[in-house]
């Protein structure tokens, strides 16, 4: 029996003490959860998407619950890079966990500027490039659905940073592996799979959309099967590590992603349902290793057996 399994993981040059991160936009800037558990236990904190200038976001309502999930149309409301560096990062730097910054630009240039702005900035361990937000009019999704443009954004960010670059892919495409390969070729060090699926909800009494933005991004347990399949496909299509995201509520879900090919996972909507979800997942992964006699969690990554039984 394995008493002390090694659950650390390596994402390109970035080592995490465990494979569990918070997903961008669902954990604020970390401080919001400060009193609820020891944030130092997290593999990494991925902060809310940051743009060059502060963004106010979409008109309300911005969220609506759906079966086993939720739609959000926040519209990337955020305090901008200056605000982040001044007001958020110093506190984040007092923590003993990796901080990954999620960036969002309106043009390839803006992505470049954002990357440059974090060059040499202490306490930022990696850049996650959001080219897949479905909730903003211009920019994001235009890049995100097109392999060539996705590659160009990636290239620009890689060129302008000294940190590992993680590119976050949209699931709203015909073939996510094409995106993945283009982004890999452009120099990305890892992929985050997936961002939200586009969806909507209607109020049958007012006959209006339930979101101010009409459509929004679907997240939560409902999307888990879709996310899992995309992670499985992506992990087989590229050599760089894949971070699994989508509907992860507990260790069981996280392990499904890792077996399907994810080197690490991010937990999003679950933070709202159970703010201690990440911690329970970290513990659950450890217990699974102990139970199954697994010495290193790395060994289960992509270990799915697809040969026909019998």
């Amino acid at each position: 029996m394995t008493i002390n399994p090694d659950i650390s993981v390596l994402l390109s040059s970035l080592e995490l003490k465990n494979p569990v991160m918070t997903a961008s936009g669902t954990f604020g800037y970390g401080k919001e959860f400060e009193t609820l558990f020891d944030l130092n236990r997290l593999g990494a904190i991925v902060v809310k998407g940051i743009s060059l200038k502060p963004m106010k976001g979409n008109p309300p309502p911005r969220i609506v619950e759906t079966p086993a999930g939720m739609l959000n149309a926040i519209g990337l409301a955020n305090i901008g890079i200056e605000g982040f560096l001044k007001d958020k990062l110093p506190w984040l730097n007092t923590l003993n966990t990796e901080v990954i910054v999620n960036i969002y630009g309106h043009s390839i240039n803006e992505y470049g500027e954002l990357a440059s702005a974090f060059k040499g900035v202490k306490g930022v361990s990696a850049i996650e490039v959001n080219i897949s937000c479905p909730n903003v009019d211009k920019g994001g999704l235009v890049f995100g659905k097109d392999p060539e443009m996705s590659g160009r954004v990636t290239e620009t960010v890689v060129k302008n940073t000294d940190k590992p670059v993680i590119v976050k892919l949209t699931p709203n495409v015909s073939d996510i592996t094409q995106l993945a390969k283009a982004v890999e070729q452009a120099g990305a060090h890892a992929l985050s799979v997936i961002n939200t699926l586009t969806g909507m909800a209607v109020d049958i009494n007012t006959r209006r959309p339930r979101l101010g933005n009409i459509s929004g991004g679907l997240s939560g347990p409902a999307i888990k099967p879709v996310a899992l399949y995309m992670v499985y496909q992506t992990a087989r299509a590229v050599k760089i590590p894949v971070i699994g995201i989508g509907g992860i509520l507990n260790a069981h879900d996280a392990l499904e992603f890792m077996i399907a090919g994810a080197s690490a996972v991010q937990v999003g909507t679950a933070n709202f349902i159970n703010p201690r979800a990440t911690i329970e997942i970290i513990e659950g992964i450890g217990n699974y290793c102990i139970e199954k006699g697994i010495n290193k969690i790395k060994d289960i990554v992509g270990s799915l057996i697809t040969a026909r039984q019998g």
Binding site: T26, G57, P59, P61, R62, I63, A77, F272, I273
Partner: protein, 262 residues
Amino acid sequence: MIETYVKILSNTCITPGIFLLRFSSPGLAAEAKPGQFIMVRVNDGIDPCLRRPFSISGTEEEGVVRVLYKVVGKGTEILSNKRAGDRLSVLGPLGKGFDITDPGQHLFIVAGGIGIAPMFFLSQAVNKKAVTFLAGFRRSDEIMDPASVGIKQDISIATDDGSMGYHGRVTDLLEQEIIKQRDNAIAIYACGPLPMLKALSSISNKYRIPCKVSMETFMACGLGACQGCVVRSASALDQISYYHVCKDGPVFDINEIDWDNI
């Protein structure tokens, strides 16, 4: 602010469709201020999957917390089926409450419908003589009596159908009462449906009376993390900006909110 499992002490129907939930949480009870709220997970599964926000409606000795809620959908329906002894995960206290240090010489507490929930806690906490508590309901059978939740407080009732108390809207009743108190320094603290709050905005402006209101929006986190719970703020020059109800509120100065674009 804590997240914890609590044990339900009682969960009883006090008027049709309205329930009083009591649970023990000394930590929460000690910290809670009127106007603050908690996020409740109504079951362990994912149907529904988000927590539901509820105002703290009062505290009792020995760390008991009271929540007064109306059954309006799936989440509150499930909650209403809980029994004494059942466990519940609660997160709180959250948000900024009413400032009770000096709410003005004479305080008007104004509540509409289930909006009375936080106001019971407020009236319990302000503990001062110069208080007028006005509450509006659609019909007499919807009235929530303070005694039924264990609070000693006189309340002036207004009903839309005139079946009890003042016949008309609570804001009209308020206007009458304000005129009587014209000579005192007055403040209004309110919670209720949107039309009531909009009417209060006019009254507050007309009589230049400071007014604080508690707002409701859809919430995912309650912690200021998701940015989901915004209301448009009344900012100059048509510049759009937003408050987060969970973090900046739920209690706002009535002049902070853009009532025309809500």
